[in-house]
Amino acid sequence: MTSIVDSLVKSFSSFNLDIAVLLPVITLIGGTVIFLIMAVNALIAVYFERKISAFMQDRLGPMEVGIFGFKGGKKFWGGIGQTLADAIKLLVKEDILPNNADKFLMILAPFIIFTGAFLTFIGLPFAQNIVISDFNIGIFYIFAMSSIGVIGVILAGWSSNNKWSLYGSMRAAAQIISYEIPIGLSLLLVVLVAGSLHLGDIVQWQADHRWFIFHSPFTFLAFFIFYISTIAETNRTPFDIPEAESELVAGWMTEYSGFRWALFFLSEYANMLIVSIVASIVFLGGWLSPLQIFNIFPDSWLILDGPAIGLFWVLFKAVILIFIMMWFRWTFPRLRVDQLMYLCWKVFIPFALANLFLVSLWELIF
């Protein structure tokens, strides 16, 4: 596994350019591409979230705003320009910072949340060789960087000087840090079995043996603990207590408006993409084709295994996981705070610890 920056540096090295110039330039281009991926991901995900929720509730969803003359109306692609229009609307909104807020921290908070999500993408492989920087501690880096966002959440809630914001941010912080423990313990199992923190090695192990979700009953359980905990970590509905519209207005985002508020949404949808890609790489075989696990297909079909199609498989698995998150939203009612803490501390953590014990025993015996 080589990173995209390394391979570009290598391919440009024939022009005799100084590496001190070449490397930052290539990284800047990569960063801009990542930002575009985040923006496009948010645009598409918001549109599909609205459409999917509309179809699940037997209504039509957005159907008025078209793009390039495709209005659509009641057709399934109706209102395809809705999120783009929303983004433009947010750009021309008045930027309000309340009088008695801590203005410096209030401006800093969206930046920290956005940076946390943005930096996580550095170590996140989209396919075998499509990664900005190929860390040998990849999974640990992602685990560390994805928890930066909680600092921004606390800052946003505290600096707003609003009771809803403060309470929402404290709930969010308690929830996010609590659910980090089951996530860490579940990832630990995979590291223990694969014997490496490098995401490429973890997928290679799955190519040599089998997908982690099918490896043993404990890793199967670990996948579900991981997945449900990541839904809580990204503050999605059954676990959206910090933002609970019906009780806390909008939680820690109450005082934000315009583009600063849009940054929170951008980061939330980016986090959804991150956790789905991590789940698909770590537990669901990453860029390996699912056709491989059933041996009924002829060998010629395994052309769907190549590195070029790897990007498709990673995104395919991630999109399915994101779809299930949206499905959850319209299936389960919101939990109460005490139920949320009960689920984390008294169900997931004991199970994850027992899982760790049993899987290391399993690895010793087999």
Binding site: L91, P98, M170
Partner: protein
């Protein structure tokens, strides 16, 4: 090797630029003149806000943060252990078992004290305003 970690610095700077450009665009496009008056008061469902929002809040959050810190440090210690687990075998298993067991004892203690419950329904020595929370019979 250090080249792998260079993008972190570059991305942090880039993130500031990528946020700054749309914020500047918003500054140019959005209305600025009609700011003022009641619009800049903290939102409290249409009422005038009562005092500052920087108030005392539930001690629960602190307990959760404290327990989290211990678990998080434990996970950080276990990551290197997990990498070499296959090489060390039984020795690594026993070492980590003792290490985690010490933590689990503390975890059971916190659980038994009821600090993992969001709402503590019983206290052991309820006095004054907490007298009605005095747990009946079995504990005290």
């Amino acid at each position: 090797m250090y080249q792998d970690f260079l993008p972190i610095i570059i991305f942090t700077v880039l993130a500031a630029v990528l946020i700054g450009v749309p914020l500047g665009l918003q500054y140019l496009l959005s209305p600025r003149k009609n700011k003022g008056g009641d619009k800049l008061i903290s939102y409290e469902c249409g009422e005038l806000p009562e005092g500052s929002a920087w108030v005392k809040f539930n001690i629960r959050f602190y307990v959760i943060a404290l327990v989290f810190l211990i678990f998080d440090v434990e996970i950080v210690f276990l990551f290197p252990w997990a990498v070499v687990f296959q090489d060390l075998g039984l020795l690594a298993f026993i070492e980590a078992f003792i290490f985690v067991l010490i933590l689990v004892v503390g975890f059971i203690y916190v659980w038994a004290k009821g600090d993992l419950d969001w709402v503590k329904m019983n206290v052991r020595y309820g006095k004054g305003r907490y007298a009605n929370l005095q747990s009946k019979g079995e504990t005290s």
